[in-house]
Amino acid sequence: MSSRSTIPSAAVNHSPVVVFNDVRKTFAQQQVLRGLSFELQRGEISFIIGRSGEGKSVTIKHIIGVLHPDSGEIFVNGEKLTHAPETKWIEARRNMGLLFQDGALFDSMSVGENVAFPIREFEKLTPKELTQRVDSLLELVGLPGYGNAKVPDLSIGQRKRVGLARALALNPSILLYDEPTTGMDPLISELIDSLIIEMQQKIPGLSSVVISHDIQSVLRLADRIFFLHEGKMYATGRPVDFTTSTDPVIRQFITGSLHGPLGKPIA
């Protein structure tokens, strides 16, 4: 397989939930995205992988509209949002949930208040309805009865779960995970993986986008993998396409070898 090629994969008849078309982004003379194009399919678990510094987090920030491209086009749920006004982005973000690396919980609020935050902002519920909703979300992520707990008292795994409950609060159609298993021990990684699968199964029509370095998770969970390399989409395909690929770049990344075209990482 030649480099910068698309791995042939089984056609899935779903309209794309996110489309990037020749997206470019430069920070202080450092070109991070160099004409990035891809389509994330609705109802799938899509993993965006690549070496550190290749622009995976930048890509996710473009999907939620926190960053805007220098050029190119971005479509979310069929709507072109490339240079849409902030009000339009705010509307679009209501349809998305983002789980940050360490949860990014508001430490001045309790667990329940964190989960209730987006609901309070966008929906008019009675206090009783709000409490019920928060309780059911906490139950969904396996933390029933944690509503009054303080954020600093939570373990990292619990923080991620609260972050997930908060991300799910507005019933998003797109759920984004920014390196959910980074720095986790294998048991918590496994737990997070099962949460991703569980959410996908429990919420119909949900599209999950996961940024990860954890190849085991990627190969186990992904419906489709997007391999970002040198600011472009180097390859996309099913896990099996990646495990059977003979492309030296993909092989080196998948096997974690120090020898190959990607070179040695700088520790």
């Binding site: 939620i64 926190v66 705010i90 509307e91 973000r93 508001f106 430490d107 935050f117 987006p118 908060r166």
Partner: protein, 262 residues
């Protein structure tokens, strides 16, 4: 020689560029603050929480510092006026100084040190811990949620604090005048009424209003653009305090000029 000059020019250019970028960012943030001030939702609950934080929690320190500021000012003025046997005027002179300058400026300093620093530190911590990104990702503007309530509360609470400072400063001065200079109460009050006009108090309160806006916007701006972990939070807090204090002093001069001509 040429090299040194070029390097100096380059450094100067870098500093100017940084300042211009900072000013541009500050202007954009101000624009967003004004935008969200007139746009729903008006976060009444958060504004009241900030009223409590900026006003109520500053009250004890304002009380203590105003009593002593009034007393020490009365002491110095009373001593000088004593040379001319005009101790009775000490209340009036202290009142004038407090109303026009000391109450708004001192309150500005106190609120900057107490509330402004806390605002910068809190928002900076939220920035470096990705909490602001999370808020934005949820479709909630951090400017609307965090900055606007702080700016509104600081701007409205500062005149109130300045008025309290003025009143308690005069009490401090009066107590000192009675004890040390044996000033008669009726003389103290009549001279005060003769020299300190309602317009003086109004001018001071306008200043306090402006200072409240300045210190809160600067504190929030420094916190909002903080970078780089715990060190970044510390730097943002220090910069917020220093920039607010200097700006208050500079703006005070220009407002005084305008008020004198008006």
């Amino acid at each position: 020689m040429m090299d040194v000059a070029l390097r100096g020019l380059e450094t100067l250019g870098g500093v100017v560029r940084k300042q211009v970028i900072g000013l541009g960012r500050f202007t954009l943030l101000l624009q967003e603050v004004f935008f969200w001030m007139v746009r729903p939702p008006l976060r009444i609950q958060l504004i009241f929480k900030q009223f409590e934080f900026v006003g109520n929690k500053s009250l004890s320190i304002v009380t203590l510092s105003s009593l002593f500021t009034g007393a020490v000012l009365g002491l110095q003025i009373g001593k000088i006026f004593g040379i001319f046997k005009a101790e009775g005027l000490m209340g009036a002179a202290t009142g004038k100084a407090l109303a026009l300058e000391l109450a708004p400026v001192m309150c500005g300093f106190i609120v900057t040190g107490r509330a402004g620093a806390a605002m910068a530190a809190e928002i900076a911590t939220m920035r470096v811990n990705e909490q602001l990104d999370a808020m934005e990702a949820m479709g909630v503007s951090p400017v609307s949620y965090l900055i606007v309530p702080r700016v509104i509360a600081s701007t409205l609470m500062m005149p109130l604090l300045a008025a309290i400072f003025l009143f308690l400063g005069l009490i401090g001065c009066y107590i000192l005048g009675m004890i040390m200079f044996k000033v008669d109460t009726s003389v103290f009050v009549s001279q005060l009424q003769w020299l300190v006009w309602v317009s003086d108090i109004q001018k001071g309160l306008v200043k306090a209003l402006v200072f409240g806006f300045i210190l809160s916007t600067i504190a929030c701006y420094k916190g909002f653009y903080a970078r780089g972990g715990a060190k970044g939070v510390g730097e943002a807090t220090t910069q917020a305090v220093v920039a607010s204090l200097l700006t208050i002093l500079i703006v005070d001069f220009f407002i005084s000029l305008v008020q004198m001509r008006g």
